[in-house]
């Protein structure tokens, strides 16, 4: 009967239970563990650089052990918020700009003002430094970021009879190019219309028309203003009116977008420098020497969006001083320069930006050129909800379930309600 197998399973189970109760922990007695949570630890373009820096730091500080915690993509915020509620936080975490507001408001991250020295502040780009502040206090230390520009496929540009040395600057010029390069199955433009990044792209368009989500003191939503409605309607009309976007846009995440561009199914795409290694990795034959980089098109004022990733120190960290030491180490001139050149991260240190190695790298230099006009999102506590509402707004218009005016008014009403609380 079950006797033979059953007995085996019972014995196995008991054995395991016994084994398990002797949880062996192998961390040396007087070492300090610093936990560093990030969704990007294992990314091929990042892994080696981080590994090396960790090793160097551990050699300089023999009693410190840096533990990398890698949640899967999209899983970090959930994990962090659950941990933080229970009073447990990682020592260091890479936090995106779309979460900083919420984290600060709940008291889940430390105020860094007492750690940051004057020289650190001087070396940091002003805009980036201010972006990491909430109510004038520093909470996020800018670690790396992406500034949005426009990628073009050189071959399609030339084949359409357009001038690769005179890339579009305004919306209308861009639309003209997109239409000319549009030749299904190749489409003129691939955007991201799904998930979080849609929020960032939409802000890039909003800013380039002089619009904004909120007013200066964060009390009123400005999405129903003409500039905002225009930004919404112009860019969704790329699909509804001009048909220059591949079908099913709301399923396009970062994966689908970069894939479409890499496999030459789209002639242009809004993206930051970090896409470069992905494109070259996906389809080296087609992508090498075939990419042109232009600015984010504008209507009224040249502007673009900068997605910044901050490093934060968890509020319940037991070793905030060492954590800060490590953060500083990751951001030394040498380390930051190396990261910029090898891993294609946008540096925020002014000395790194001006370093010869960085200036020599063509694509880095181009994206750094956009930094003048780049702005990031406001760090309000409700930012998570606002992001979701904006994504909904854009998708409703994109799929024809609402007009731009209707969707903008609805979204503004909802966001005003969120701000009122």
């Amino acid at each position: 009967m079950l006797s033979k197998h059953g007995k085996i399973m019972w014995i196995l189970g008991l054995l395991i239970l016994v084994l398990v109760s002797f949880n062996v922990v192998t961390i040396a007695k007087d070492s300090i563990t610093i936990t560093w949570m990030s969704e990007n630890h294992h990314e091929p373009q990042i892994k080696a650089v981080r590994g090396k820096l960790i090793q160097e730091f551990e050699e300089l500080h023999p009693n410190v052990f840096i533990m990398q915690i890698q949640p899967p993509l999209e899983g970090q915020w959930m994990k962090f918020s659950i941990m933080a509620r229970a009073g447990i936080t990682p020592d260091i975490m890479d936090l995106g700009c779309e979460y900083l507001g919420s984290a600060v408001d709940r008291g889940w991250v430390l105020n860094l003002d007492k750690y940051v020295a004057e020289e650190d502040k001087e070396n940091m780009s002003k805009n980036a430094l201010n972006a990491g502040k909430v109510d004038g206090k520093i909470y996020g230390w800018p670690f790396w970021g992406g500034i949005y520009g426009m990628y073009y496929n050189k071959r399609f540009v030339i084949e359409a009879g357009l001038n690769p040395d005179n890339l579009p600057e305004t919306w209308d010029e861009f639309l003209d190019w997109a239409k000319k390069m549009n030749n299904p199955p190749v489409y003129g433009y691939a955007g991201i219309w799904s998930s979080g990044t849609l929020f960032h792209h939409h802000l890039a368009r909003l800013y380039s028309n002089g619009g904004d989500i909120l007013n200066d003191d964060y009390t009123k939503c400005l999405l129903d203003q003409p500039e905002a409605v225009e930004a919404l309607s112009f860019w969704t009309e790329l699909d509804s009116k001009h048909k220059v976007i591949p079908p099913g846009p709301t399923t396009y995440t970062y994966q689908e977008q970069t894939r479409a561009f890499a496999y030459e199914l789209a002639a242009s795409m809004t993206n930051a420098l970090w896409a470069m290694p992905k494109l070259l990795g996906d389809n080296p034959e087609a992508m090498t020497d075939n990419i042109l980089i232009g600015q984010n098109p504008y209507r009224t004022v040249p502007a673009t969006y900068a997605k910044i990733l901050y490093q934060v120190i968890g509020a319940n960290s037991e070793n905030p001083d060492i954590a800060w030491e490590f953060i500083k180490y990751l951001n030394t001139f040498e380390a930051a320069t190396q990261r910029a050149v090898e891993a294609k991260w946008i540096p925020f240190r002014t000395d790194v930006i001006n370093a010869p190695e960085v200036q020599d790298s063509e694509d880095l230099k181009q994206f750094l050129g956009f930094m003048e006009t780049a702005k990031t999102n406001p760090n309000v506590p409700q930012i998570g909800e606002i992001q979701s509402r904006i994504i909904e707004m854009v998708q409703m218009v994109l799929t024809g379930q609402a007009t731009p005016e209707e969707a903008s008014i609805e979204a503004t009403k909802d966001i005003d309600k969120m701000l009122a609380k």
Binding site: W10, G13, Q45, L73, G75
Partner: protein, 282 residues
């Protein structure tokens, strides 16, 4: 039964049944087959238009790369420990409970059973918040025990409820016959009912193991350090923001179903009628 040469009906029926079965198998297996062919491609062969069914240069390289890129052995070991221990505990306890609910209808037993079922009606994402806090205060975070406790919370009710259904299908007369023959209630349970319910028992254990094997939410939140990571959380870390190696991902996914398949081939034979008819006739 006379076999008439003119009677085509059984042959027609059998062909139809086989055809239908093939369609089902095709529907069930095709995406997995697609997964497999993806796992033996080089990265640049993964996408193409039109989609290629079989890669031009099949290679096992992705499998080796996964092993290099991730400590997949650790993931396997951890998941095995948690899943097997959970099931080893939950199966006997659940079987006892299921038998109790099936045969003993005292006051409140229905309510208790309802309560057990009701514990499953909350989404994990809400449950996991207090779970984390409780385990944190008990210092059971990042431990096998903590994970096993959490996994028991959904394995045990599942096993109990499923086995109750299978036990209900066995007529009471059999228990009574055994007890009249001199068995105690417990002996009747072990010697008579359990063997008859073998197909159900096997199915339940297989499914419970699979549920535990693939569970994600508790594994994500309740374990933290790299050496306690489970498969269900470790494999998705291959999905990067800036690199998304489909072939590695599918290869890892395939490796992950190996233990379930092994377990299934062990227990699958119990899903078969033959062993039960003997006991029934007795």
């Amino acid at each position: 039964m006379e076999k008439s040469k003119l009677n085509l009906k059984p042959i027609f029926l059998r062909t139809f049944k086989t055809l239908l079965l093939l369609i089902f198998i095709f529907f069930a297996i095709f995406p997995v087959f697609w997964m497999f062919t993806t796992s033996i491609r080089l990265n640049r062969d993964v996408f193409s238009i039109p989609p290629l069914l079989w890669p031009s240069h099949p290679t096992l390289e992705p499998y080796f790369e996964v092993i290099k890129e991730r400590p997949i052995g650790t993931y396997f070991l951890n998941t095995l420990i948690v899943a097997i221990t959970t099931i080893s505990f939950s199966a006997p306890v659940g079987a006892l409970g299921a038998y109790g609910f099936s045969r003993f209808k005292f006051k409140g037993s229905g309510l208790i059973l309802g309560f057990i079922l009701a514990t499953q009606m909350f989404p994990y994402v809400v449950i996991v918040v207090p779970y984390f806090q409780v385990l944190a205060s008990l210092k059971l975070l990042d431990t096998y025990q903590g994970l096993i406790i959490a996994y028991t919370s959904f394995c045990l009710p599942f096993i109990t409820w499923m086995l109750k259904g299978f036990f209900d299908a066995i007529p009471r007369e059999l228990d009574e016959a055994a007890m009249i023959d001199g068995c105690s209630r417990i002996q009747a349970f072990i010697r008579v009912i359990l063997p008859i319910s073998l197909p159900g028992l096997a199915a339940t254990i297989i499914f419970a193991f699979l549920v535990a094997w693939n569970h994600y939410v508790f594994a994500l939140v309740l374990a933290q350090s790299p050496d306690k990571m489970l498969l269900s959380v470790g494999i998705p870390t291959l999905m990067g923001q800036f690199a998304f190696p489909w072939n590695l991902l599918m290869a890892a996914g395939f490796m992950a179903i190996l233990p379930p398949i092994i377990m299934y081939s062990f227990l699958g034979k119990y899903l078969v009628k033959g062993l039960t008819t003997g006991a029934m006739k007795g």
